[in-house]
């Protein structure tokens, strides 16, 4: 039974490979994100960013070291599960990818990074923000978004400096992402002299927040900060307003999506959130990117500009090295300077993005508008 199974798979694999090899030299790039489960809408968005980059490079013609290459994207679903992530990472290594864009979550990026590091394959995460990811000492782990402490810092400065909040309530969703950013934010607002009057928690699959919001209502803070994703942030602000609470709502990059506005309805108006990098509308290629992405895949959810940039950065390093060999282009990637749609991408010694900018946005007239 099992043997037949394996033989069948083998046959499929061989026919699959035979077909691809017909089209000249190929550079395979892995793209990993959760494509099923609660975060799959964001995972698919990441994957689309990688695909758009590949399609554009293929249409334009890609030359590395005097040879013409076709980019082929190997998309895998890691289900946001750490164990599955390592299997998928191994699969991509086996398939001979030359670089990986992913994973989506911090909890999957960290265990997978060990496998990529062992295989010497560079990995750029477009969305993992946990500080630990780039601090394990792996030379192959990079990211193009600011980490939790960088973003928490920017959010805290904004909350105190621009929004003049004195008492603050903080909610997080107890995921690696939400807790990381909320802790970073809490530390920085305290250092800047504000009071954290309430610290509440929810989960990444909750829909009812009335209990924690009521409890916050009793403390009457100036500002409520939420560290978590859009699917919770949307209903949360709606319930907040329904409880008659008028305070400022501030989220991080996980909340800054069109999904948030859609789910919150009119309650979204006036909410603030941050996003790593420069606003797309201000970047030279930004509006054009939004249009091109829109034509192929519809609305940008969150991180597709970053996964697009990550892909372009990876290939840029290959071009500079004149080779698709990871060992040869890795040093070039480490010291790259790539002008992307989200800003200038270069990495510090850990693999974190250098001078990572953070932009703040506010919902105005049903759209996220960058705050100058």
């Amino acid at each position: 039974m099992k043997r037949q199974f394996l033989v069948a798979i083998l046959a499929v694999l061989m026919t699959g490979c035979a077909k691809h090899e017909a089209s000249g030299p190929v550079v395979k790039i892995g793209s990993v994100a959760p494509l099923t489960g609660p975060q799959s809408h964001l995972g698919k968005d990441n994957d689309n960013g990688v695909r758009l980059a590949a399609e554009e490079m293929n249409a334009e013609g890609l030359t590395i070291g005097g040879k013409n290459y076709t980019v082929e994207v190997e998309s895998e679903d890691d289900q946001a599960d750490p164990r599955t992530a390592t299997i998928v990472a191994q699969k991509l290594v086996d398939e001979g990818v030359k670089g990986v864009i992913g994973h989506f979550n911090s909890g999957t990026s960290i265990p997978a990074s060990k496998i990529y590091s062992d295989a010497g394959i560079p990995q750029i995460s477009p969305s993992a923000t946990a500080t630990a990811y780039t601090h394990q000492g792996f030379k192959t782990a990079f990211r193009v978004v600011t980490n939790d402490s960088q973003q928490g810092d920017a959010l805290a400065k904004f909350a105190i400096g621009n929004l003049h909040a004195k008492s603050i309530a903080i909610i997080d969703d107890r995921t690696a992402y939400g807790q990381g950013i909320a802790d970073g934010f809490a530390k920085d607002v305290k250092a800047l002299g504000a009071d954290v009057v309430a610290r509440e928690y929810t989960s990444d699959h909750a829909t009812d927040f009335t209990a924690i919001l009521t409890s916050i209502k009793g403390k009457n803070p100036d500002l409520v900060f939420y560290g978590g994703m859009d699917a919770q942030a949307g209903p949360m602000i709606k319930q907040l307003r329904n409880l008659g609470m008028k305070m400022i709502f501030l989220g991080a990059d996980g909340s800054k999506s069109p999904e948030f506005i859609k789910l919150a309805g009119p309650s979204a108006e006036g909410a603030y959130a941050s996003a790593p990098g420069m606003p797309l509308s201000k970047m030279p290629g930004g509006p054009d990117f939004v249009r091109r992405f829109g034509e192929k895949y519809g609305r940008i959810q969150l991180y597709s500009p970053y996964s697009y940039d990550a892909t372009m950065t990876l290939v840029d390093a290959m071009k500079q090295a004149g080779s698709i060999d990871p060992a040869k282009y890795l040093p070039f990637l480490a010291k790259i300077r790539h002008e992307g749609v989200t800003g200038t991408i270069s990495f510090d010694k850990n693999g974190d993005i250098m001078h990572g900018a953070v932009t703040l946005f506010q919902v105005k007239g049903g759209n996220w508008m960058a705050i100058p």
Partner: protein, 355 residues
């Protein structure tokens, strides 16, 4: 003689399996085999509770978590301890065993589905504590998990050593331990305790009347099952080098239960088969995308969603075609064949034959 020859071939096949797999399918599949062995140990542990003693446990992954976190805490830079694995694995098994008893004690009076929901709650409680014990003191690392966990080292030889590649090294370690766990399971099944478990599974009152101390025997089942889980948890932490609460959610408990039931509850070989099948199947289904491409020339239905859909379908079909599991024990097969008479007497509810 013939029997011995058969065994020799079997062992040889198991030894050669990873190399053949690597040659034919790549290291991914060796890694999948590693996980399959790990799940086989887990499923065998759950089989003691569910299969032998007939106690439905929906929170089994908690014991896996206890073993994994014990290893991670005492062999990582988090607290600066770096204890060796031969100390940590038994400690993990022991600690999980204690937790097993803690779970067992308040639930002794509960039956069937009430027990199921309490065990489910217990599993969630452990996960929530692991997820939240980063404040006020950082004990478990919270949602961020623990990284840079020491690999398993035998003497000076780290199993993560590139020599021979980590996935092979771990394969052999897991294989030896899985064989040991299977051996213990079989011995237990045919021991006095094993017969006592079956007795309480079939009829608790009769068992008690026959002089079986049902309380101790049930607690022992929980503790034994849990300790297998704790052991595999330690192995998981050493193999992955990273643990976080996400790995220990309810879905994992359900998946292990599926392995036990689908393979053939109470039958050691069946359970191992179930574990291997259910850990291999979702990975094999990753090839539906390429399969679609090669059959139709393009991807018609999104492969990622089709994958879990087919997995669900497979669960249904297997149970419909083989209600007692793919490889049930001989006794069970006979019982089921006789359901015409026996079952009718035992049935009270339409679906509830507490067999």
């Amino acid at each position: 003689m013939k029997q011995r020859l058969k065994w020799a071939f079997f062992v040889l096949a198991l030894v050669l399996l990873p190399f053949i797999t690597d040659f034919a399918l790549g290291k991914t599949w060796v890694r999948i085999l590693d996980f399959a062995l790990l799940y086989a140990m887990l499923a065998l542990g759950l089989n003691i509770v569910v299969g032998f003693a007939g106690l439905l446990d929906l929170g089994y992954i908690a014991f896996f978590a206890v073993g994994a976190y014990l290893y991670a805490l005492l062999a990582s830079p988090h607290f600066g301890f770096h204890l060796p694995f031969w100390l940590l694995l038994p400690m993990g098994a022991f600690a999980a065993g204690i937790f097993g008893m803690l779970l067992g004690a308040p639930t002794l009076r509960l039956r069937g589905d009430y027990l199921a929901i309490v065990t489910l709650g217990f599993g969630e409680i452990i996960r929530i504590f692991l997820n939240n014990l980063d404040a006020p003191y950082n004990i478990t690392g919270g949602p961020q998990g623990l990284d840079l966990i020491d690999p398993i080292k035998i003497g000076d030889f780290s199993l993560n050593h590139p020599l021979g590649h980590a996935v092979f090294n771990y394969y052999f370690l897991f294989l030896i331990l899985a064989a040991a766990v299977a051996f213990v399971s079989i011995r237990l099944q045919h021991s006095r305790i094993g017969r006592a478990w079956v007795a309480i599974r079939e009829d608790e009152i009769a068992a008690e009347a026959m002089g079986i101390n049902t309380r101790n025997v049930k607690l022992l089942a929980f503790a034994m099952g849990a300790s297998f889980g704790g052991l595999s948890g330690g192995l998981f932490a050493g193999f992955e080098g990273f643990v976080s609460p996400e790995s220990f959610n309810l879905n994992e408990s359900i998946m292990i239960l599926c392995m036990v039931v689908l393979g053939g509850m109470g039958h050691v070989r069946g359970v191992i088969f179930g574990a291997i099948l259910l850990s291999v199947l979702p990975e094999a289904l990753r090839y539906v995308g390429p399969l679609e491409e090669s059959l139709f020339g393009r991807v018609i239905v999104d492969a990622a969603s089709l994958r879990m859909l087919l997995f669900g379908l497979a669960l249904i079909l297997v149970m419909l075609l083989r209600p007692a599991g793919l490889w049930p024990s001989g006794t069970r097969r006979r019982e089921l064949a006789a359901h015409g008479e026996t079952a009718r007497h035992e049935n009270t509810n339409v679906y509830d034959a507490s067999r």
